[in-house]
Point group: C2
Chain length 582, copies 2
């Protein structure tokens, strides 16, 4: 420990090391010890050297990282947060920051019951659709899933309340937000589980949440270092995790010691095409995770013999194809499938899905496979709308593809007639033909005309006989702006027979992946034999989610993250200080 | 090296060590050195001890293992094959042992052209359906896929010819076997690529192939040890792979040194439910891989920091549900969707797929997801046939579910009427209700009647307007026994309106998985940074297949296995003898 670090330990609120002094120490460390022990055996007895020392080293500065850092700091630990990107917040900062907290305090105050047995049945049905059995002891979940879901139910509200009480994440309780599966019989609390950072609108909670979490972190003496990319895990001669090796903003190698634990909260692998291809259950053209979510923890943890789990699933959403393939850093999922006089059609001009279904479910439509043709006919879907929808349904938030005048609308394809629209869609697709196998079928316009004719009948009667559009509560919540009156079904309005027409290409995407090393219910990373790797923890999308394929509801991403941040902090508090002998 | 082992080296044909002597050495080894070096760093300088020593240690005794062993032995190496199971042959022994060898010698002799550019387009279209582009330099494949496919084309025939020439795998050229994608424009050789062990029928090549491979192995002095389960990889202080630790039939720990290389050919993870759940892109109720295929190499290689790849895909096939969930070791895929007056329907009584499609494609129908209902409506499909099909289409091979009188038909559900059949199907499903979320919808019989009425119209006209049954060459090849005459389409015959009726439950299954650590084109296992791990090789279903989601044709499993066995043997021949210092 150098003098600056000692100074931090005595007086956490004034811990900022001068860049010069800190880097000096780092460079010396990097030069002094090139090889590191990464093995549980063959100990050399050499003393490992570090450039800085904390009780807890947290990697990643989204809600998982800042949350764990705070919960841990509040128990008296010195804590550093290392963030790869130049700015804090990760995917959380981009998100709406809904967090789904079962049986939360505002629910209790409002008299909303959320009994545990029913909650467990709800998540089991959604997460284990192949094996769900309400009478089985674990309801069809694996033991691990069951334990994780139970830990979530038991701890979520405690975690949320502590963050609220300490001013780190004051919340509001948006009473009108419905669960995505509000209409399932297993759901006894169709409204009430969603919380939102105080002061935020439904679409910008991330900004508010990260601001309050990071303000609390700084207030309470947590060091946050951006542009510090963690490269590897340092283990002592016993195989215990004792720190991380990091590349500094200046490109130097720094070694951070963690006396108690290293916690990874570094997000998933949305932006690594190779990992997507090798693991995900469906093709993804991009996603709205922070662009820094490149699966670092998969690669960093691989040499430790971790067990990867739930690698096939992601938090899915449709995305505007052209923004996703451009890696537009501001990308949101098309969470709001805007438009009433609007349909999604595939390359043949057919509707193939209820457009208003919640985003995770709509995404699966893109993955339909045509065996005889050996093609994905829905590889892109084309949202098509008319002037009425353009005039009355535009929205600048929630990932809407129908945008108001003056907004960036480069993703919108236009045509005075359906024929012209199709010609322009085909031309736009051709731009991407060297990378994506996408095109329009010759019969596209003819089929589209039939599709619209049929859809318009549904709009008039209010009954979508093909896909049941607008029949579920969540579809109405995400229906978006619309002003047309006299609708039999608020989600449908007849599409005009005359132009102009508008279209955009949609592709399968995600918010982030949700597979990685498996943890126990305390966030401890497990090895292939099921044993915790001493000193190594994980929280959030960089580790395996017990939710399996399911998207339980809005905030089912951040709800468990906040919860397991709390559980990890409590568990690592019991870790002893580890030796630094190689 | 003990005296027995030295003796082997001098005289390979008499190498069998007495059990007693061998185990004695093993026990001493196990007691003598409990910890092993598993790290590239922190070398201790201690000398590792072994119970036996070979140039090459091969794990697994299917075609991949025996093939590599032979190719390697023929270059002068001492070779041992370690087989976990009590008998040799693995999944290969159970298979039909078709092997798909592009541009093979019999094709050339028969004047069948198989030009490389077209072959590459064919496999690219099938393996990269999202990105296939005939004008792109790599055709839409990744660099790795392209290189692997090219290596396959370039080497397959050489490998097959060498096995043939040395009497290890004499082959026949079944001229009537059609490619599964015979009808794609990219396929310039719709017949001719499939080879089959000499003497075999189309359904029992595995027995013949393993017999000839293992006879050659014994003839040429390769030691084959069954009931030897490899538990871990032994590395020296430099991180090079120098051997394996094995559990002997008596439960002792034995340490085998590999002077040049350890080759894993241990199959996939079909029989490990947790790995299936954590990685595969679709649910699997079981499979026809050897029951010993439990993903050992995933767990054994994890601590070495390998890069797992293609983990989401498998060689898929429908399976008889009840045999699969019983882990029936003799299970075959329902490769032959037998019956003309036969349909597959789902829980609602609807047809959802062309029943005669090749098995890999049919399997994807089981994975259709109904978002609003949150269920897999095709979780099981029910094959239903009448007395005509029972009398005329029964077959005892090829995984046929319509079996001749006297065969085990416990998987067959019967009913005098459709109502009674449905009642009995529901009762059979109820047996599994605690483990599988399967049931019949109340409207099943009514819908089934409509389904059959429509199917019977198709059978009369010969045109399946819904799923195009029987329109492709491969469907006729797998059509199976049938005697009814006057059919407009050989795959369809009207289903009787009167009973008795027969049914069986079919579920999604596989031949084996095809993901694992990534290798280079020489079978060298790559670490997360893309570097070969010195001394470690992999062949077959235990490593990543470059085929992605595709099942190129019958024998696209064993064709590449034979090829990469040859390439791995050639590459490891250049390995130097590794130190055994920890």
């Amino acid at each position: 420990m150098n003098e600056k670090e000692k100074d931090f330990k005595k007086n956490p609120r004034k811990e900022e090391i001068t860049r010069r002094g800190f880097i000096g120490a780092g460079a010396a460390g990097a030069l002094g010890l090139a090889t590191i022990a990464q093995s549980a055996s063959a100990a050399s007895g050499k003393k490992l050297r570090f450039d800085a020392e904390y009780d807890v080293v947290v990697c990643g500065s989204g809600a998982g990282g800042l949350g764990t850092a705070l919960f841990s700091r509040w128990q008296g630990n010195s804590v550093v947060v290392l963030e790869k990107s130049g700015s804090i917040g990760g995917t959380t900062a981009k998100s709406g920051f809904w967090y789904w907290i079962p049986n939360n305090e505002p629910m209790k105050k409002a008299g909303i019951q959320d009994p545990k047995p029913d909650f467990m049945k709800l998540v089991a049905r959604l997460s284990a659709p192949h094996s769900y059995s309400p009478s089985a002891p674990k309801l069809g979940l694996t033991d691990w899933q069951y334990d994780m879901c139970e830990a979530y139910y038991d701890t979520a509200s405690t975690a949320a309340e502590l963050l609220n009480a300490r001013g780190a994440l004051p919340y509001q309780h948006p009473a009108d937000v419905v669960d995505y599966w509000a209409d399932l019989p297993e759901n006894k609390a169709p409204k009430g589980r969603a919380l939102l950072p105080a002061g935020a609108s439904l679409h910008n909670g991330g900004k508010f949440g990260i601001m309050s979490l990071s303000n609390a972190a700084r207030r309470d003496g947590i060091s946050i270092k951006t542009s510090h990319r963690v490269q590897s895990i340092i283990r002592n001669g016993r195989g215990e995790v004792v720190g991380v090796e990091v590349t500094s903003p200046e490109g130097e190698t720094l070694r951070f010691r963690a006396k108690k634990a290293v916690v990874f909260a570094t997000g998933g692998f949305t932006h690594d095409p190779q990992l997507r291809r090798d693991f995900l259950c469906g093709n993804i053209v991009g996603g709205c995770a922070a662009n820094s979510n490149e699966g670092d923890f998969i690669r960093i943890s691989s040499p430790l013999g971790v067990q990867l789990a739930n690698m096939n699933y992601a938090w899915n959403c449709p995305v505007v194809f052209e923004k996703a393939v451009a890696n537009d850093g501001s990308l949101w999922g098309a969470f709001m499938p805007s438009g009433d006089s609007m349909v999604f059609v595939n390359k043949y001009g057919n509707r193939v899905v209820n457009e208003k279904l919640q985003y995770n479910e709509v995404t699966r439509a893109f993955w339909a496979w045509d065996g005889p043709r050996q093609e994905y006919p829905n590889e892109v879907l084309i949202a098509i709308w008319d002037q009425q929808a353009q005039d009355n349904c535009a929205e600048e938030h929630y990932g809407s593809y129908i945008v108001p005048p003056g907004s960036d609308d480069r993703h919108v394809i236009k045509g005075a007639t359906r024929e012209e629209l199709a010609k322009n869609i085909a031309a736009r697709m051709a731009v991407y033909r060297d990378r994506f196998n996408i095109s329009l079928a010759p019969e596209f316009v003819a089929t589209l005309n039939d599709t619209i004719r049929r859809f318009n009948e549904f709009a008039k009667t209010g009954k979508d006989l093909d896909f049941h559009r607008g029949e579920r509560p969540v579809e109405l919540m995400f229906n978006g702006n619309n002003k047309a009156t006299g609708k039999a079904n608020p989600t449908m309005y007849p599409i005009s027979d005359t132009g102009p027409f508008y279209a955009t290409l949609l592709g399968p995407g995600n918010l982030d992946t949700k597979g990685g090393p498996r943890t126990d219910t305390h966030g401890r990373i497990l090895d292939v034999k099921g044993q915790p790797i001493p000193g190594l923890y994980g929280v959030g999308n960089c580790v395996a989610s017990a939710s399996g394929q399911a998207y339980w509801s809005g905030g089912a991403t951040l709800g468990p993250i906040v919860t397991f941040a709390y559980r990890a902090a409590n568990a690592l508090q019991k870790e002893r200080t580890k030796e630094v002998t190689a």
